[in-house]
């Protein structure tokens, strides 16, 4: 079971060695990354089967938890570890010129993402988060014109890191520990107070940069507009979800207070509204998808702000749905990146792509029986069960945003199928790989429809496990000397 740590370590090892191997044998270098990701996939699978859904913890270095760093492995962590490996593999830069450095960065991204999914230590999360950041800056900057967006992204992210670090410092000063289970134990007495809330707000703003949280997401449109589409797909599909996952963990375990939920709700709602509104007028596909991604992530945050298992369930459903849909859309946008008006009749040249786009658009809007509908329904049900005008206000906001979303998405869909377009240069055809990959995502979407009932049940189990802070504490055995807080405070 402790081989799960390999999904972090092996990609790192491979990343360190890729440049050397590539120097020796180009083909071996090119194969190393996918190979390692495949191994990670296999490891995650075996661990998932072995653990049979029971959560367990690994103490890195063999040190008892609050002293050393713990990897906490439950269904959610395994799910995201699996998805990380899978998505990285699927979106692997097979095409184009072989650049070992790019492979190395992708592997690092994968390793760090796995780390984020598994880590049970506040500062360790920060480290992996920074690792994700640096790797993604590098990957973003591989675009031809993306150095300026990358540096702007970096500055914003850096500022966010400072805030998060201050938040971590506050937490540590207050409690003297960094282990999430330990913090969770201490939280009722030490962190359910203004200081805890302030720390949460700072960490939220810091980690929120990656998660496309409302005021710190200004990097999103320009980065997605200029970065290579596979990178955009990874960032929007995977990295943002992992950041949201971190926030979820912190929220459930450490900062479970009403005001924290309120802050999330408000920022999430603003994200939904601003994202969808901005997307409404977007004039090129990439930026439209970027804005739409902001909106979707906002919805995830709104969902997480619903206390208890309901919110986790809804949020995970939306996040997973977006994780499937958005990368595929970015792949389709690879050759449709120009002005939206230039896409008139693009379906004629490439019908599968247009049909896939339509499928994803339908699911994003939430048309039954596609998965997007059920995810949205969960959110709506969750919000409706809450009392308090703010939740109902959020409900209204999300529904209105959906209308806006439907409008702009189907404006594009109809443009794609617009038959009698003026003689405009036909958009480029998609590369076969892009279409195949997008088709894979589409197939999984359809499969999700067919397997809706078992899927929803297992997701519900995941949500139950995730939302149960007591179970988390029970799994992580703390060293006896530190299990109670001394009276130094």
């Amino acid at each position: 079971m402790n081989q799960i740590v390999l999904i972090v370590v092996l990609p790192l090892l491979a990343a360190f060695l890729v440049p050397i191997v590539a120097r020796m044998s180009a083909s071996l270098g090119a194969a190393l990354g996918p190979l390692v990701m495949g191994v990670c996939l296999w490891i995650t699978g075996t661990v998932a089967i072995e653990s049979a859904g029971n959560a367990f913890a690994i103490n890195i270095g063999g040190f008892m938890p609050p002293l050393g760093i713990t990897f906490f492995v439950d269904r959610l962590a395994l799910l995201f570890a699996f998805l990380t490996a899978l998505l990285v593999l699927v979106l692997w830069p097979f095409q184009g010129e072989h650049r070992p450095r790019e492979h190395a960065l992708t592997l690092i991204l994968a390793a760090a993402s796995g780390g984020l999914a598994l880590s049970g230590d506040l500062f360790n999360i920060y480290v992996f988060y920074e690792l994700v950041s640096v790797a993604s800056f590098g990957l973003v900057a591989t675009g031809r014109r993306s150095s300026a967006p990358a540096i702007r992204y970096l500055i914003l992210s850096g500022f966010g890191s400072v805030l998060a670090l201050v938040g971590i410092a506050l937490v540590y000063t207050q409690t003297g520990t960094l282990n999430l289970a330990h913090l969770s134990q201490l939280a009722p007495t030490h962190l359910i107070n203004p200081i805890g809330l302030a720390a949460f707000a700072l960490i939220l703003l810091g980690v929120g940069v990656k998660a496309e949280l409302f005021p710190v997401n200004t990097w999103v449109p320009e980065v997605y507009a200029t970065a290579p589409n596979r990178v955009s797909a990874l960032l929007a599909g995977l990295v943002s979800k992992l950041a949201a996952l971190v926030i979820l963990r912190l929220l459930v375990l450490v900062f479970a207070q009403e005001q924290a939920l309120l802050v999330m709700l408000l920022l999430g709602l603003l994200g939904v509204i601003t994202g969808e509104l901005a997307a409404w007028r977007a004039q090129d596909m990439n930026r439209m998808l970027a804005y739409s991604s902001i909106g979707q992530l906002g919805m995830v945050f709104v969902a997480f702000s619903i206390p208890g298992e309901t919110g986790v369930f809804a949020g995970l459903a939306i996040a997973l749905h977006h994780l499937v849909v958005k990368p595929a859309l970015f792949l389709l946008a690879a050759r449709w990146g120009g002005a939206l008006s230039g896409l008139a009749g693009a379906a004629g040249g490439n019908l599968p792509a247009a049909l896939l786009f339509t499928l994803f658009a339908l699911s994003l809007v939430g048309v039954p029986p596609l998965p997007g509908f059920w995810a949205k329904l969960l959110l709506v049900m969750g919000l409706a069960e809450q009392v308090g005008p703010l939740y109902h206000f959020a409900l209204a906001g999300i529904l209105i945003a959906t209308v806006v979303e439907a409008n702009y998405l189907f404006r594009i869909v109809s443009t794609l199928f617009h038959r009698d377009s003026p003689a405009s240069p036909a958009p480029q055809k998609h590369s076969g790989g892009d279409i195949a990959t997008a088709g894979l995502f589409g197939a999984s979407l359809i499969a999700a429809v067919l397997l809706l009932i078992p899927l929803s049940q297992s997701l519900k189990t995941i949500a139950q496990q995730t939302a149960d802070a007591a179970a988390y504490r029970a799994v992580v055995t703390l060293a006896p000397t530190t299990s109670t807080l001394g009276d130094t405070q």
């Binding site: 081989q3 890195i60 270095g61 960065l105 000397t481 130094t488």
Partner: protein
């Protein structure tokens, strides 16, 4: 006006944080984990420098992450700034003193760096500090002869293998039945150079890695500047 507002907000942030900061009982931190580590470190890790014990033992995976960050940054810079263009321009004459000084300083810096690295588990210092000195050692010849590039292949090998070594040591622990990065080998006597098990080896890997990465970074930046000017 907007500047003023921004300033006000920046100040406000400071003030508010200050208010939170002053609520703490300064100097009497709870130190839950710290205390436990202090008492447990000698027999668990065997490093005299408890900070080192934390950096490489208790929080070893953090350190791995940080190495990866350095590697990622270096890789990314390499990726962005592209392959080095060999400058066609003749070397600007950097002068005898600089050249000679560089050649003299380099081995000295290497020695100092390695010393600091190898004593990291005993005294203040360690892989990072030593690694930076190593980086300076690697980089000094470049300063002296801007057109002579850093030995790229060598750098790359150091970079890759030192990082891999760190991981492999960790994996060795994993496959010898423990956890990843679990201390191996004999702890030795507290305070001796050869003590604390695999810790010095890890620190050596860290030091080499940091040195190679920083040097590589500097070299990349310098090369880009050269090609630009």
């Amino acid at each position: 006006m907007r500047n003023l507002a921004s300033l006000l907000f920046a100040g406000g942030l400071g003030f508010l944080l200050m208010v939170f900061g002053l609520q703490f009982d300064f100097g009497n931190a709870p130190m839950l984990v710290g205390q436990a580590i202090q008492s447990a470190a000698p027999e668990q890790v065997g490093a005299a420098n408890i900070v080192t014990a934390v950096v490489l033992g208790y929080r070893g995976i953090d350190t791995l992450g940080e190495l990866a960050i350095l590697f990622a940054a270096s890789t990314a810079v390499g990726l962005i700034l592209g392959h080095r263009h060999t400058s066609t321009k003749p070397d600007p004459d950097s002068g005898l003193i600089l050249r000679a000084g560089g050649e003299l300083l380099m081995p000295l810096l290497l020695v100092v760096g390695l010393y600091i690295i190898l004593h990291g588990h005993l005294t203040p210092g360690g892989g990072f500090q030593g690694g930076v000195i190593l980086a300076a050692a690697f980089f000094i010849p470049v300063l002296a002869r801007p057109s002579t590039p850093l030995k790229h292949t060598g750098m790359m090998l150091i970079e890759g293998f030192s990082g891999a070594a760190f991981i492999l040591i960790g994996l060795a622990a994993l496959y010898s039945g423990g956890e990843f990065l679990q201390p191996l080998l004999d702890k030795g006597t507290l305070g001796n150079l050869v003590s604390a098990g695999t810790l010095p080896l890890l620190y050596l890997a860290v030091g080499l890695k940091v040195g190679a990465e920083l040097a590589g970074l500097l070299a990349h930046l310098a090369a880009a500047e050269v090609s630009e000017s």
